[in-house]
């Protein structure tokens, strides 16, 4: 049994992305709502608070609690901030596998493995490159994945 965690590289990338988007929206609000200062400051404040909350509280907590437990026969995903959610699938019930690799061979932690099973799917998100390779190797060993 091995426990994998979401890659912090992906967390940093998301934090940068959210802060950038918020900054751009603040600037746009400043330009277009210049003549309505109350509305402008309210909107800017909302964007900033949402960005700060998301980037520095919610996302770090989400990444902290997000883990994958991989055993010889099962894979379990545990997640949630206020409400914990655990999903587990048996490897022998996997019908097909999808591996999504981000830019530059997923060095930024943007690697996803989706296991399609009867009645649903299990998604392992934000894996780092080594973890992705380890898990796909296990899936290959179990005969549900094969990459030539």
């Amino acid at each position: 049994m091995k426990i994998y965690h979401a890659d912090t590289g992906a967390l940093q990338l998301l934090q940068i992305l959210i802060c950038t988007v918020s900054a751009v929206l603040d600037v746009l609000a400043g330009i277009f709502l210049n003549s309505f200062p109350i509305i402008m400051w309210s909107i800017t404040a909302v964007f900033t608070i949402v960005a700060v909350l998301l980037s520095f509280f919610i996302l770090p907590l989400f990444f902290k609690n997000f883990c994958f437990i991989v055993t010889d026969s099962k894979i379990m995903v545990s997640m949630g901030i206020f409400f914990k959610r655990k999903q587990s699938v048996r490897l022998d019930r996997v019908q097909f596998v999808q591996v999504i690799t981000g830019a530059f061979d997923g060095i930024l932690g943007l690697n996803f493995i989706i296991l399609h099973v009867y009645g649903g799917r299990l998604m392992m998100m934000f894996l780092n490159k080594n973890d992705r390779n380890e898990i796909t190797a296990l899936l290959q060993q179990k005969g549900v994945f094969y990459a030539p």
């Binding site: 097909f96 999808q98 999504i100 799917r121 094969y146 990459a147 030539p148």
Partner: protein, 487 residues
Amino acid sequence: MRREHPLRIVRYSTKNLWLLIFPILRGAYHFTSQEDVIEWLQGTWMDLLVLLVIFGYGYLDWYFRTFTIVEQNLFVQEGFFYTRKRCMPIRNISAMTIEHPFWLRAVGGAYLYLDTAAGRMDSTDIKLMIRVRDETIFLAQFPKIRKNETHHYEHRVGLKRMLLFSVLFSSSFSGAVYMSVFWFQGGKIARDLINQFHLAEYLSNFSAEVADKLTGIPPAAVTVGILILALWIISFVKNIFRYGNFNMESDSHLLKVRSGLLTRRRFFIVNQKINFVDIQQNLLTKFSRIYTLAVNCPGYGNDKGSIPICMPILTKKELDTTLPMIFPDIRITKNQLHAPYTAWWGYTYKQLILFVAMIPAVKIGCRLLPQIEDVISFFGIMVEIPILWKLVIQVAGLLTTGVSITDGRICVRYSKGMEFHTIITDTDCLVKVEIQQHIWQKWFGTCHVILYFQAEITKKCKLLTLNYQDVQKLFSEFLPDETKAEI
């Protein structure tokens, strides 16, 4: 590694067609501002660049989308910035469809659909536009049908039976669905055609002429009648094209179906992956003892409006001999549990109330709007007919609804909408049993039973008004024993 058919480049390019907005805006600006055409022509390098981006992206999308079969696994890779790898073990495939649309046949292409029991509901897991020569690598993965096997069965449906099937399974509703798709997707073109050929005008004139001849029937009713008939014909023609040339072959492992006139389709269905067999009838076929054999298997009959047919038309005698040949383990058994005749009200109350309520409703309508009295009376009668039809279906449903469980097989008979179904499968495929009991049903000791079967889209069968005690006994394996429960 192989690539899809090069024609796919066009499809992938269409994703970025929105980029054409820039050349269009540039052209519009130049022509509205009355500027020199030479100046506009000098800037065409930008338009060409946009086209290059659109088709270049389409080409790259096509180039980086490859597929191969290795070690009994289908591997599909796509994307050049973000890569998506999909691996589908061949043993998990439940159905494979090879489709040859007439326009793609000319350029040596075909569509390939592969489905497993997982993935997004009612959508294909993997869809590829392949070259016809690549078909062989997929066909080689499926076992060939063994013609000398005991359970080998082959049947080609003749023209007369196909016409009969199309007549029976065509409906104005499915025609209307088809027309609405045409209307919304064809959009402006469809409306322009109707305007150009003055179709609405012709329909109005024709209705007036027919109404003149059929004295007593208002023109509005004739128009509605013509529209319903036209929609029915569309549905009929669609069925002919879809199910024409129907051929079915099976052995104990595989079921192979071929059908289609313009677009030819070949379905390869793995017998083990079939969830259940569904014998379908409507009221006409029930009285004439004609059956349609359908199967529920992920990947077969996924398209909207299509029926997952195994055998389109069978007589009672043919069904008895064919069913064990195609599905050796499947048997039709007599109902062990059926609705008591005293439950007639539960089956028919909606139709009876509607039927009776229509009479005063029409009379009130006629009093309030005397100028269109004949139209209201006519439509009143026209509405009563389907209600009466449904009432007969419900009565037939009361006489036939039931369930039996023998030797690990379950056989359920029920009616839904305008159709009668007989579902036969292993009890393992029965995933949920739900019992509904109203207060008055508690007094009479009856209940409704809803059975859920394993399927890609939840398949439920509602059996109305069965004896509660008998249900508890028959489904004891699925229901907890309330008497032994600890409080």
